[in-house]
Structure formats: C-alpha cells, structure tokens
C-alpha cells in the first residue's frame, strides 16, 4: 500500500501532469490515479511497463521507476545476458557517518564489530543526466511527447543508477544551462529530480553546444554523462561540445529521442508546420518534401552516429514508441565497461 507521504506526492505529480497536458495539448491523461498504481503494483507482469504507452497512464514517481527497472532486471535475469550483478560482495569497517541500513548485523552478532556491506557494484560513479528541456522536446503526436519520454527515461535511469549505488544528478538545459541537481545516491534525491522535471516544462530554443560547454565547467568530478535530447541543433557544433565532454574525462552516453512522426513523417495534404521553438511557420506539401525530408533526417542521424562512434561514445537513437529496456541496457553496458 502506498504511504500517506506518497499519496501527497502523487497528487503533486498529478497536478504537474495536468499542467503539461494543458500546455501542449497532447491529450489529457489522468496519470497518477492511485487505483491504477495499486493495480500496477499487484501486476504479475511488470515488464509491460517498459512500454511508454503503458507508462503514460502514470505520473512520474519512484515507485513507477522501481516497477520499470525491476521489470527490466527480471527480464535480464531471464535472459542470457549478464551484464552486471547486484549481489553482496564484501564488508568494510564501519566509520561514523555510514548509513546504518547497510550495517551487517549478522557479522556484529558474531564478532561484536560493526561492518558495512559492500556490494559488488558499489562505486562512487557519479552520473550526470543532462536533459534537454527546449520547446522541441514538447513535440509528440501520440500521448507521449519527447519530454514525457525523456522524463520517464531520466527517472528510471536515475533509479537504476541509485540502485547500482551510483550517484545520479540532473541538469536541465535549453538555450543555456538550467536547473542542476548534484549527483546523490539516495532515493529521496529521485523525488527531487522528479519535482524539478514536473515543474520545469520544456520551453525556449535549443542550443545544445553552448549548453554543454557551459555545463562542462560545472562538472568537477569525472563521471558518466547521460545526454538525453532530440539534438535538434547544428550537428557539427553539437559533436564538438560532446567531444569536449569526453576530453574532460567524462564518459558519455547520448540518447537521442525522436517522435515517431519525426521519423516517419506521415503527413498528407497541405500543412503549415509551426516551429515549437521559434514560432516560424512553413507551408509545405508533405508528399512533395517527404523524400527529401527523410533524406535530410537520415543524413543528420548518420552524421551523429559516425561522429559519436569516432569519439567512442554510445549513441542510442530512441523512438517515443520504443520500450525503455534498450536505454537501460545501453546504460548498464556502458557502466560495465567503466568497471573494466
């Protein structure tokens, strides 16, 4: 049963979700219905919540993130892929300040000494999630916008990171760096991340390159940078800025989120397209430009792929219709490389 504090928090999330729906008119979905969450918690097949369409019914919450991640992990256990383990690995002597919940009371009973459990994957890896909050992220033709997808992805990745004893931080950016939450390894930090995302909807123009350049100065310690963006910017400058991140010793994973209609461009009939960032309008015959559009899109995607591949950076193109497990797998794969 969810706790009373969770109910209040869920109500706040619900209000935030309604605000998002009204602003971007992508349909109002009554997310965060407590009854639905109860059903989810009791659902014997949690893996189905990897589907963004299913998750769209829910507001962001650590519980949802837990469901998603555990569903993913369960799936991993059943698959031949063993990328990591979260089993207990070792002890270390207790020092004041350690979290008592990791105190091994069995060892204390045997030895009368205080020891803290150390998990196999315990690390001081600092993960920075850089989430694009430019107006273009608000685009979506279904019920899931790129922003929604990115938020859910951020929440679930953060949960996964925290579950891996990594510190997860969040930084929003658009035309310039925005709000920043330093990496922390507590679940409560996850709530703060969620609150930041829900209270800072996408707006403004995109300038990935300058934002990254600005943010890199604030990333004091090396860590894993997860860039979640639609990368609608000059590929050359963007790649330069990402290279800059790598040159500062960071590992980078780039998740490029696109809406299904951006990829397929299924429009028909004369249409006036309005740029969500600049407001500029362009009347186009979609049938006439489809081929060229697809070609341009493919060229840019290929440019990013090749550019990031040359840098040794994982590039994960995502579609708002795709389940999140691919993203999770990519994160875990990268993390395992870091551990050597």
């Amino acid at each position: 049963m969810p706790s009373p504090s969770s109910n209040a928090w869920l109500n706040a999330l619900r209000a935030g979700a309604r605000h998002l729906a009204q602003r971007f008119q992508h349909g109002v979905v009554d997310r965060g219905n407590p009854r639905i969450i109860t059903e989810v918690l009791n659902d014997p097949d949690p893996r189905r919540y990897l589907d963004p369409a299913v998750l769209d019914k829910f507001a962001l919450s650590p519980l949802i993130a837990r469901l998603v991640v555990e569903g993913f992990i369960n799936g991993l256990h059943k698959s031949p892929f063993h990328g990591f383990s979260v089993e207990f690995a070792d002890h270390r002597e207790y020092v004041p300040g350690d979290d008592l919940k990791y105190l091994d009371w069995q060892v204390f009973a045997r030895t009368d000494r205080y020891y803290i459990k150390r998990y196999e994957e315990e690390t001081n890896l600092r993960c920075y999630i850089l989430l694009d909050r430019s107006a273009s992220m608000a685009f979506g033709t279904g019920t899931v916008t790129k922003w929604d997808y990115g938020c859910f992805l951020t929440t679930c990745l953060a949960y996964l990171m925290i579950k891996q004893q990594d510190a997860a931080g969040l930084s929003l950016f658009g035309a310039k760096p925005g709000l920043m939450l330093p990496p922390r390894c507590r679940v409560s930090h996850l709530r703060q991340m969620i609150q930041v995302m829900t209270t800072n909807p996408p707006t403004g123009e995109t300038n990935v390159a300058s934002s990254l350049r600005a943010m890199v100065r604030n990333l004091k310690r090396r860590g894993l940078i997860v860039l979640i963006s639609d990368l609608i910017d000059d590929p050359v400058e963007t790649l330069k800025s990402i290279r800059l991140l790598g040159s500062h010793g960071h590992d980078v994973i780039v998740f490029q989120i696109r809406d299904a209609t951006e990829v397929e461009f299924p429009f028909d009939g004369a249409t006036v397209f309005r740029d969500l960032e600049t407001g500029e309008e362009l009347e186009v015959d979609p049938a006439a430009v489809r081929e060229s559009y697809m070609q341009n899109l493919a060229e840019e995607t290929e440019r990013y792929r090749k550019g990031l591949l040359e840098m040794g950076i994982d590039y994960v193109p995502l579609n708002t219709r795709q389940p999140y497990d691919q993203a999770f797998s990519a994160y875990l794969h990268r993390r395992s490389k870091l551990r050597g």
Binding site: F139, P266, T271, V272, F273, D275, V289
Partner: protein, 730 residues
C-alpha cells in the same frame, strides 16, 4: 489581312483571372501542425524550389497556351490575302417567273432545281458572309435583309412558286442597290442569278443604272437551270376579224426552238359551234397566222372564246388565249392635231392616219378616226372616243382639258405624241401636278428640248406587252429607231407610278406608260410624224400603234388583260351606292375596289393571279350589271431561247460575269470566299495538341521532376506508370 469575326470572345481571356482570384481569396484549408523543428523541412523546400521552377513555368505556359488558343478560336479569326475582300454580301436571286415552270417529262422544273441550288448556296456561306434571297418575276421581292444566318429564309424559299408574270431579272438590281447603300468595309457583293436565262430576261439599261456609282466590288454569277434545248409555242394574239363578209378568229402564233412545230389550234367555250380547229406549222422566229371561221349568224353576245394550242407543251400557260367576242364594233379614235399646214403629208397626224387606216382594214368594225384641232374639239367628241390621240398639241382650254381628263379616268385611252408645238409651260402647269403625279395626265414635267444627234432607242422593255409582238423580225426594227430631237423630262418624284418603256440613248424616256383612273396614257417623246424621229417610217410603227391602241382600250373594249396588270373596269349604270364582286376563274369571289370618277364607277383589281375568264357583277341605286373580262398569261417569257452569254457580259461591262450550267457538270454550289482562310479550326487543333502535351507533361514527366505531381490520382494509381514510386500517404 487578319480580323476577328467575334472579337467579343476575347473577353474570355479575362475569365482566366477568375480562378486565380478565387484561389487568392479563398481561405486556404491547410492545417497547422506544431512541429519540433523546421530545419529538415526548410532544407527540403529550398532544394525543391530550385529544382522545379522551370517546370512550373513550362506548365503554366502550356495551360495558358491552351486557354489562349481556345479563346482566340472562339473569336473566329480570319486571314485574307492582301488585296482580297474579306466578306461577301451574297444576293441569291431566284427567278420565279412563268418560264421557270417549264415541264419536262422525267425532269425537275427549273424552279425546283433552282430552289435546291439556292438552298445549297444559303448553307454554304462562310462565316462573316451575309446573304439574302430575292424572288424575281415581273417584280422583285427580298425575303429579308442581308443576314449572317440566311437559312432562316429557307422555309419561304421552299414555298416560292412560279407565278404568271414574265421575267424581269433587272428589277432585282434596284432592290440590291438599295441594300448596298451602306456596305460593310472590306465587303464585296456577289449576285447569283438562278434563272432559265432566256431572251428578254435582262434590261441593258437597268444593268447600267445599277453599276453607276457603285462603291462595292461586284461579281455576277448566272446559274442557268433552264433546259438547254427548250422549245415553246404560244398564241401571241387573237382578235375577231371580218374578211369579205365572213367572220374569223384571227390568231397570231409564235414559236421558239430549233425546229418548226406542228400544232393544232382549236376553239373552245363556244357552245353550238362544233369543232373548230386548224393545223398550223409554227416556225421559230416568225409569227404564224391562223384564221378560224365563225359562222356569220353565230350569236357572239356575252361569249368568250378560248383558243388552245394542242398538244400542250412544256409551258402550257401561253398555249391558251381567251378572247372576248362581245366587243363593240369599231374603234373610235379622236385625233387632236393643230392646223399647222394644209399639206397633208406635213401634218402632224399624217402618218398616224395612214397607220390607222391600215389597221382598220383588217379589223371587224374598222377604225373610225375623227380629226379635230385643239381649238375646235368639243365635249361630245371626247364622249364618243375610245382613244384620244394628241399629236403635237400646243395647248387646250381648261374645259376641253377637263373633259379629256374625265374621259381618260373613265376608261378612254390617251395616246400623246409630243412635238415642237407642245408648250412646256402649259403641259407642266395644266397636265402635270408635282404634288400628285399619279392623278394627272402628264406624270413627269417637260424640261428643255434636246438635240439627240440620232439618239437610238435604248433600255426597251421588250417583255412588255406593248413590244411582245415586235419580236417578229419583220416588225422588230424598233431598236433601230433614231431620234434627232426629244424632250428631256424631270426626275421621278415620289408618287409617280408611271413606267418608262424605252429611252433615247439613256438620256430621256422615249415612251412612258401611265395609268389614270380606268384609263391609260401612253406618251411618245417624239412627233407622230417623222419631224423628230424616223419611227413613223419604221416597219414597227403600225404594229406598235396597234399594240398601243389595244393597250389603251382593253378596259373599255376588249376587256383583255395580262397577268400582273392592274385591272380597272368601268361599271356603267350603277348609280349611287355601288357594290361589285369579282369571280375568279377558279370560282373564288373577291371584292372589287370601287372608285368614282365623274359619276362613273370604276372597279379595280390590283393583282389577278389566275388566268382565265373573270366575271364581275355590280349593283347600285341606278341598277345592276354583269360583265366579263379575261386575264392572259404574259407572253414575255414565251421566247425560251437562251440569252447570249457574250452579249450579257458586254452589258455587265467590267463586272465579272460567270454563266454556270449545272447540266454541264459545273458545280453551282460554290459559295465563294476565295482568298480567305479560317483560322479557328487550326487554333482548335493547336489547342488540342497543347492540351495533350500538358497532360503528358503533368502525368508522365512531372512525377520524375516534380514530386508535387506524384500525389496525383493518376500517378497514385499508376495509370500512366510514372517513373517515380508514389509515396504512401497516412
């Protein structure tokens, strides 16, 4: 030269702007789609605009070219070679005279053939041309004004029937001249005469008068629909005569053709007479004569004999002649001549008296001539006269003049010979009334005397009954008459209904006929003797005088008229409140128009359209009367010999003349219009080609170069197998 027949159609080019305006003003039904970014769209649009621009221009040019070709074609452009006239004003003159009813076994009559040809001509006019139809017999009537769609006259053309009148194709020229009074610029006139083209159909003078002052180029085409080898015989004239105490019906017979004709002349309608007939041989070019005996004791009172030639030939109307036998014996002629000399041969009426003596010898009852001087004539002299002859009379007193006028109006004929003694002042003030020229003895005023220098007779109305018998070459020297002196007459004024039957050198009328009341006036613009001309010494003088007397006395004595004549009969003894009715040969009863002149009732019938015996019955306060009169078919069309084409060309002078014989295989249906090229069929063909090119460009080539067309229905369904694969639409 290039012109447009329907320039208003060019306004259609302005209609091209309508869809453009609608396109510009119509709210565009496009949806607005918020999109993440336009960067990929902007790049695509830029590439496309660079690529398709020239295609758009070409497509626009093709469509505009098609519409322009269509609009200009609707404006009916016409091109004509430099110097040629563009439009034709076509006059189709159809001869509906008696001779057009020439019947041949197994063949159409000339009128039926002529109607078909006329109809074909109406159908084959080129756009821009105008045409009308003129029906011509003794006179001409146009079916309507020149029209661009003359087929509207077709029904009346089909209903045209040959009449009883003789041919006068020249009468159409006056009608045509009026219609050409305000010609269109760049127009020419084409006169197409559809006729049997026999001798006597044309009047040279009328042709010359038509051409004078004409500003429109004219061409003439004569389509000869008459039989090539026509032959005809007719009864030219008949009268009762007495020779050696025996009575005869004297008939003069004529024929035309290549060979003499054997016929039988028979008398009908005389009960109790039995079969009276005689075989006759009639040679072309000369009159044959036949005398049919009538018993001396045969009661001729009220009887009308019908003479017929048997068997009937192709023109049967002139194979019969009705002769009123009940005519008063003798002819009383009152000759008015001044006592200028005691020398008989120099007297003004000398030749007249001799001619009348000759005429009187052959007729039953002879001709009684009473000579009086203008100062000695009394009213009773006028009362007893059937014909009054004025020979060089200087003037008459008012009472005598009044008596003369009164007699003429009641049916007495007046034969007037002018001369040096005739005083124009008297004639123009006493005999002529310029306000009412039809109600006086002299219809046209006398001007000065002209010295003609042997002026010949011209413009002779040979088809007029006055001159018909003069076709006999023995008497036909009227055309050789020369005049040294004659009067010039004033111009014809409105209301003048007189007719000039001959002219002196086209300068002055030589013979004028004029109807006054029930009587007729014949005015010879020469002396009765040979002082001014050699007419009295010509062979034609006596027969001419004979015809003149017959014409002047037909209402009073012979009561013998020709079809087309205006008939006026005196109805004596009716008194006040007269009424009269005329019964036609066909049994119809028509009311007679009655007029009163000095207490005398005159009955008029303006158009006798049947030949045969008419009966007239009159009633009034003074009593009633019954009488008959006969109407003969005209004899002017009896001579069916063709007009010489060379002579006809000479008469038309510089006007191009073409004589076409449908029997000879030449096509009479050519509508003319040489030198003119109609451009709109070519423009329509060009527009069709442009449209095909546009369709091919849009559906075949554009999908390769213009993706905008790939979404067309045709391309989508692969009807024309576009080379680019159509994109699937969501």
């Amino acid at each position: 030269m290039f012109t447009l027949l329907a320039p208003i159609a060019l306004a259609g080019l302005g209609l091209l702007a309508i869809p453009v305006i609608i396109h510009l003003l119509k709210p565009k039904r496009v949806r607005t789609m918020p999109f993440s970014s336009l960067r990929w769209l902007r790049a695509s649009q830029h590439k496309l605009s660079r690529r398709i621009q020239w295609h758009q221009v070409l497509l626009f040019l093709l469509r505009a070219a098609f519409l322009c070709a269509l609009v200009v074609a609707l404006a009916k452009p016409v091109f004509s070679r430099r110097g040629s006239r563009l439009f034709t004003e076509r006059f189709v003159i159809l001869d509906i005279s008696r001779s057009m009813h020439y019947e041949q076994p197994g063949r159409e009559t000339p009128l039926v053939r002529g109607r078909k040809i006329a109809r074909a001509l109406l159908d084959q006019g080129l756009p821009g041309d105008r045409a009308t139809v003129i029906l011509t017999g003794a006179s001409s009537v146009a079916l309507g004004p020149l029209a661009e769609d003359p087929t509207s006259y077709a029904s009346r053309l089909e209903a045209a029937e040959a009449g009883l009148g003789d041919t006068d194709l020249s009468s159409a020229l006056a009608v045509i001249r009026r219609m050409l009074a305000a010609p269109r610029p760049n127009a020419r006139a084409e006169l197409v005469f559809i006729t049997d083209n026999h001798q006597g159909s044309w009047l040279q003078g009328e042709i010359a008068a038509f051409e004078e002052g004409l500003t429109v180029p004219v061409s003439v085409r004569v389509i000869d629909v008459g039989p090539s080898a026509a032959r005809n015989a007719w009864i030219a004239d008949a009268r009762p005569i007495e020779v050696g105490g025996k009575h005869f019906l004297h008939a003069r017979l004529g024929a035309s053709g290549n060979e003499p004709q054997e016929r039988t002349l028979r008398v009908k309608r005389l009960p109790g007479l039995g079969d009276v007939s005689q075989k006759v041989t009639i040679a072309p070019g000369a009159f044959a004569e036949a005398n049919l005996p009538i018993p001396t004791d045969y009661d001729i009172e009220g009887k009308i004999a019908e003479l017929v030639l048997e068997p009937r030939d192709a023109l049967p109307d002139d194979d019969q002649f009705w002769l009123n036998l009940d005519t008063r014996g003798g002819l009383h002629v009152l000759l008015l001549e001044p006592e200028s000399t005691q020398i008989e041969s120099l007297q003004p009426g000398f030749h007249l008296r001799k001619a009348l003596e000759v005429l009187g010898r052959g007729d039953a009852g002879a001709i009684q001539v009473t000579s009086r001087s203008p100062d000695a004539v009394v009213a009773s002299d006028f009362a007893n006269a059937d014909v009054v002859v004025m020979a060089n009379v200087p003037q008459l007193t008012d009472d005598r003049l009044l008596a003369l006028e009164s007699r003429v109006k009641t049916g007495t004929g007046l034969l007037m010979f002018l001369g040096p003694a005739a005083q124009p002042a008297f004639y123009n003030t006493k005999l002529h009334n310029p306000q009412r020229p039809a109600e006086c003895l002299l219809p046209r005023p006398l001007l000065q005397i002209a010295r003609g220098n042997m002026a010949p007779f011209t413009r002779v109305a040979w088809t007029h009954p006055m001159f018909a018998p003069l076709a006999d070459p023995a008497f036909g020297d009227l055309g050789q008459v020369r005049a040294r002196t004659y009067f010039e007459f004033g111009a014809v004024v409105p209301g003048d209904q007189s007719q000039a039957l001959a002219w002196f050198a086209d300068a002055a009328p030589a013979l004028i006929e004029h109807a006054l009341g029930a009587g007729h006036v014949l005015i010879f613009n020469t002396t009765a003797n040979d002082e001014w001309s050699d007419l009295p010494r010509r062979n034609c003088f006596v027969p001419l005088l004979d015809q003149a007397l017959r014409r002047l006395t037909r209402a009073r004595l012979s009561r013998n008229f020709q079809a087309g004549d205006a008939i006026a009969l005196a109805l004596p003894g009716l008194g006040g409140n007269p009424s009269a009715a005329i019964t036609t040969p066909g049994g119809r009863t028509v009311p007679a128009v009655l007029q009163q002149f000095d207490g005398q009732t005159i009955a008029r019938l303006d158009a006798a359209d049947e030949v045969g015996v008419y009966a007239i019955r009159g009633n009034g306060d003074g009593g009633s009367m019954e009488s008959n009169f006969v109407v003969q078919a005209g004899r002017g069309d009896s001579v069916v010999t063709k007009t010489d084409a060379e002579i006809l060309r000479a008469w038309w002078g510089k006007v191009p003349l073409e004589v076409v014989h449908p029997d000879a295989g030449t096509s009479p249906d050519r509508a003319g219009g040489a030198g003119r090229v109609l451009l709109w069929p070519w423009l329509l063909a060009l527009g069709a080609l442009v449209l095909l090119a546009e369709m091919y460009f849009v559906h075949r080539l554009c999908p390769v170069m213009n993706p905008a067309v790939a979404s067309s229905t045709v391309a989508r369904h692969g009807i024309l197998s576009p080379t680019s694969k159509p994109e699937a639409t969501v």
